[in-house]
């Protein structure tokens, strides 16, 4: 009798445990999981913003459709992460050789207050010639970031100045403007260059 009761409790306990685990899975990893907060950028064709490139041309997401595209956010007063990203990208582009000229590569500033068209022109001039620098009014930068599901935030520094926290990933789109993949900051070059090639080949496949 006692043994039977014990078994019953045991079974009930196991059932509760199983249910708890199932509910937990459902909520965290399963179909009930909340959508990761705006992780996936929109297709370029669904974005809307107007900016100015470093040669004073009016530009927007529409200018990027037709060729594979690489986009990243940063600011020129950034001493570490941004020059590192820009020099990494320059390195990837060098490795791609002639293929690099078939791409749009755009650096969008998150600090338009300091990054004027002139500042962007001077800055991008130090990196691979394919890289374009885009700036513009703050509301347009915000709309661009929203489209890419990128974030940025102004943070005061002790010297009375400020720095910017920002999404440091590199976004890769195919020629039709669909997201192919993202390259995370710090991703080794042996992973980055094949990802860029994938964006380039998707273009070839789309064309045939």
């Amino acid at each position: 009798m006692q043994r039977r009761q014990l078994l019953l409790y045991g079974a009930a306990g196991a059932g509760v445990l199983g249910l708890t685990l199932f509910v937990g899975w459902w909520r965290v990893d399963g179909p009930g999981a909340p959508e990761p907060k705006g992780q996936r950028p929109l297709p370029l064709s669904a974005m809307e913003f107007r900016l100015t490139d470093h040669e004073e041309n009016e530009v927007g997401p529409g200018n990027l459709i037709g060729r594979p595209t690489m986009v990243f956010f940063g600011f020129t007063y950034c001493p570490d992460v941004c020059p590192t990203t820009l020099s990494d990208i320059s390195g990837w582009l060098e490795e791609l050789g002639d293929e690099a000229s078939e791409m749009n590569v755009v650096f969008i500033t998150v600090d338009p207050e300091r990054d004027t068209v002139e500042a962007m022109a001077e800055y991008v001039g130090y990196f691979h010639p394919v890289i374009r620098g885009w700036t513009g009014p703050e509301d347009q930068i915000a709309r661009a970031a929203e489209g890419f599901r990128a974030s940025f935030e102004r943070v005061p520094t002790e010297g009375g100045g400020y720095t910017m926290n920002h999404t440091a990933s590199v976004f890769l789109f195919d020629a039709e403007g669909e997201l192919v993949t993202m390259i995370d900051y710090h991703e080794p070059r042996e992973f980055a260059v094949p990802k860029i090639r994938r964006a380039l080949t998707e273009d070839v496949e789309g064309a045939t």
């Binding site: 992780q39 020129t76 800055y123 130090y126």
Partner: protein, 156 residues
């Protein structure tokens, strides 16, 4: 009496000398700085960054407490971090303790010597002295070469 006093004085001098040199013996003299490099700046308004490996070859832990250089009024060790959703941020790193036989790498995207309030532009091809200060009072000065803005490491 006079003789004794002299003896005491000598002892005091001895202790003072020992006291002065003792901190330097507590570790920082065994610090070796390798592969220092930095990127050229555009003008003086933007902060610069310098990188290096700080190696503790001694038998005591050392704590890096600060930086000094005539190039910048506010040199500080900062750390860049990128969180799980890919957002990068930067903050002062505070003091850095290096255990015996260990080293700390100041490298792009992580710890770096942030050179705020530049006194002059950082020009490619030039060098500047950077002094690392340790908690034992010791100082280590290195000459940091300035490479191009697009440099990726000590080799350029």
């Amino acid at each position: 009496m006079v003789k004794k006093l002299r003896y005491t004085n000598a002892l005091a001098v001895l202790f003072t000398v020992a006291g002065l040199s003792a901190p330097a013996l507590a570790g920082s003299e065994d610090v070796v700085v390798e592969n220092a490099w930095s990127r050229a700046s555009i003008g003086v308004n933007r902060p610069g960054a310098a990188y290096m490996t700080v190696r503790n070859t001694g038998e005591d832990a050392v704590t890096l407490t600060g930086l000094a250089t005539p190039l910048a009024m506010m040199p500080e060790i900062h750390e860049s971090k990128t969180n799980s959703v890919g957002v990068s941020s930067m903050a002062p790193a505070g003091e850095i303790t290096i255990e015996p036989g260990q080293s700390v790498a100041l490298e792009p995207g992580g710890l770096h010597a942030m050179l705020m309030k530049l006194q002059e532009p950082m020009t490619e091809g030039e060098n500047f002295p950077l002094t690392l200060t340790f908690s034992d009072g010791g100082k280590v000065t290195v000459e940091v070469p300035i490479l191009g803005i697009a440099a990726r490491g000590p080799e350029g």
